[in-house]
């Protein structure tokens, strides 16, 4: 990314940044508003995490330029994401699977 950007390129980037900023701000308000809705816990979690994921991917894709990043980086991140989910859910699954008298 460091070289090969013309001024016009950058200027169009800047427009994108502003749009993303607006989207992020809007989504923040929406997620707060949604938390006051009378949703069940499951639905609430799902909605909040979905919005957060959208926001997160906006930041990653545009501010961090992931959308046009080299394949190598994408591969490393995918590997990381894989292990992240393993770390997130297998301990939990294993805990639920635990033999235990209630």
């Amino acid at each position: 990314m460091s070289s090969g950007h013309s001024t016009a390129d950058i200027q169009s980037h800047i427009k994108v940044y502003m749009t993303v900023f607006a989207a992020l701000a809007a989504l923040t308000i929406i997620t707060v508003a949604a938390s006051y809705l009378d949703l069940s816990t499951g639905e609430g979690i799902l909605l909040a995490l979905t919005i957060a994921s959208v926001k997160g991917s906006l930041v990653a894709s545009y501010f961090m330029h992931l959308i046009s990043e080299r394949a190598l980086i994408t591969w490393i991140l995918m590997l990381t994401a894989g292990f992240f989910f393993v770390l997130m859910f297998i301990p939990m699954a294993s805990f639920i699977d635990q033999a235990q008298v209630g």
Partner: protein, 572 residues
């Protein structure tokens, strides 16, 4: 870096706060060898206690109390610190920090690591971590005494653990900085023509190792932070409600889970065991290819196996937790992955064995250690199999069988691999070979006494003797039939210690008196042997080498020499 003025660098810039990967490698190497010695010394004291539980420790006994007896709490401290020092301060810094730092840039034809300053920072983090760990022995509370695994609630309530946690946070940071550096270096700084499949296997091993460190260490860092919070901020991440310790209800809010720690800990600690073994395997590969005078057999499958091994090592961790009451689904999952992960190890070992066929084997000291590695690691790896079956593990878990299993892989396994590496690369570092005679004097007794220490552990383990027993099982009836082995193992351990003297002597002796050799004394093909010995400060090579061939072109029919360096251009 400032390559043009390296001649005028003051002493502290050159040897202390250096950014040259070779100096940092040596710093790592010396520090970690000293830690190995410390870790081993702790164990020699413990082995006294295990062999003669009712008598005062000779020589150093007075440190432990008036009558020179080793108290159980001190025994536990020594045990926890032996494990911690050996793994985090000894083997990993030696295998990754020292060998990785010194050899990897040379083998890929790079002038230095990608981030020299971060490299130095990594060493100093390690140093501080080590100092914190060691100084914990001298605090009022003493050193950690909850095992290297630091299972809460014991670790939450036992004294001495805080320093351990702080030390670990430094060590983890050091490893992270180091391994990010390695990956970047290997990806970015390979010399022209050095494609992935032309890399020496050692570089592949370091590459996978670094990935394991980058992705597996942070969860332990998180866990260490949580345990630190439990200890200093009164939280109860790992403490459930309603604990009664020494008759008092523990005054914490509760609601935590001890199993959480175990998951986070083993999420690192299983990959960690491959961090211990892969660099050693890499060294073995180099030494074997060189001293069989023939290419490694099945290079491609070796690379595939090591990458697959690295990947799988993230999803087997709970085989250390079968006995925590795991249900059917999870135990099936983890048993299966454990069995799957044994296959790449078998592939790697088989490739090494087959490489010997048709060779012209030179039995010099590095090769002896490399050859001994194979069956020794084999024994260790094979005894991992019964542990991997949950049903068998019901009986074998936390017995000396486990201790035997992993010592075979780390002591006569990894340590032998590292010895091989030291003997092999010593001429590159100093321009002189180590004495062969002293080397053999080091090798043969080491091999014999290693087995003397660790073989009987399987017998004790089969008898069901638990680990971490202060009296070595004296209390227990079921241990009575195998108790006599304790003395045998301890004597072997002390003799093993003696067997290290020729090695220590050799290191210093050969520095001055060793046979002077040119830059490629072993007739090797890889790039490090095209650099001067020692390689030039900061830049390594007179000129960045260009690579034209795969890593191990030995004994190619029709060539006049039995090795063809990677830099030799192809004709026509």
């Amino acid at each position: 870096m400032d390559s043009h003025n390296h001649h005028e660098e003051p002493f502290y810039r050159k040897y202390i706060w250096s950014t040259d990967h070779k100096i940092i490698g040596l710093q790592y190497g010396i520090t970690s060898l000293i830690f190995l010695l410390i870790g081993f010394s702790l164990m020699m004291i413990m082995r006294w206690q295990l062999a003669y539980p009712e008598s005062a420790v000779p020589l150093v006994g007075s440190i432990f109390g008036e009558d020179g007896m080793l108290l159980p709490e001190i025994y536990n401290s020594l045990g926890a610190m032996h494990g911690t020092i050996m793994i985090f301060l000894g083997i990993v810094p030696l295998a990754v920090g020292a060998f990785g730092n010194y050899i990897v840039p040379l083998q890929i034809g790079a002038p230095d690591m990608a981030f020299p300053k971060i490299n130095a920072a990594s060493y100093w983090c390690y140093f501080v971590g080590g100092v914190v760990m060691m100084s914990s022995f001298f605090t009022a509370e003493g050193a950690a005494r909850s095992g290297w695994t630091s299972y809460p609630p014991l670790a939450d309530i036992e004294v001495g653990q805080t320093m351990w946690l702080i030390g670990m946070i430094f060590l983890i940071t050091s490893s992270l900085l180091g391994s990010i550096n390695f990956i970047t270096t290997i990806i970015q700084l390979r010399a022209p023509g050095l494609t992935w499949m032309r890399l020496p296997f050692f570089v592949w091993a370091q590459f996978v190792t670094s990935f394991l460190l980058v992705l597996a260490f942070p969860p332990l860092e998180a866990a260490a932070v949580l345990q630190l919070m439990d200890r200093v901020a009164g939280t109860s991440f790992f403490l459930p409600s309603g604990l009664v310790v020494s008759g008092e209800v523990l005054g914490v809010s509760g609601g935590g889970s001890p199993l959480l720690w175990q998951h986070l800990f083993w999420f690192l600690a299983h990959p960690e065991v491959y961090v211990l073994i892969l660099p050693a395997m890499g060294i073995i590969a180099e030494v074997i290819a060189n001293n069989t005078r023939k290419p490694l057999w099945g290079y491609n499958s070796l690379v595939f196996a090591v990458v697959f091994l690295g990947f799988m090592s993230f999803i087997v961790w709970a085989h250390h937790m079968f006995i925590t009451g795991m249900g059917t689904a999870m135990s099936a999952f983890f048993q299966t992955t454990t069995m799957i992960i044994s296959i790449p190890s078998i592939i790697i070992l088989s490739a090494f064995f087959i490489s010997l066929w048709g060779a012209s084997i030179r039995f010099n000291t590095p090769m002896l250690f490399a050859l001994a590695f194979l069956p020794m690691f084999g024994i260790g790896g094979l005894t991992g199999l019964p542990l991997g079956f949950a049903a068998a593990d019901i009986y074998l878990h936390d017995t000396y069988y486990v201790i035997g299993h992993f010592h075979y892989v780390v002591a006569p396994g990894t340590i032998f691999g590292l010895f091989a590496g030291i003997y092999y690369w010593y001429p590159k570092i100093t321009g002189r070979k180590m004495s062969e005679l002293l080397g053999k004097l080091h090798f043969w007794p080491s091999l014999i006494f290693m087995n003397g220490v660790f073989m009987p552990m399987f017998i004790q383990g089969l008898a069901g003797v638990s680990r971490r027993l202060w009296d070595g099982g004296l209390e227990y009836a079921h241990a009575s039939g195998v108790l006599h082995w304790n003395e045998f193992m301890s004597i072997s351990a002390w003799l093993l210690g003696l067997a290290q003297l020729p090695f220590i002597f050799n290191i210093f002796y050969s520095l001055k008196r060793g046979e002077k050799v040119d830059k490629n004394p072993w007739g090797a093909t890889t790039l490090e042997w095209t650099a001067p010995s020692p390689p030039l400060p900061h830049v390594n090579f007179e000129k960045i080498p260009e690579v034209h061939r795969v890593a191990y072109e030995y004994s190619v029919p029709g060539r006049k020499r039995d090795f063809t360096p990677q830099t030799e251009p192809k004709k026509g």
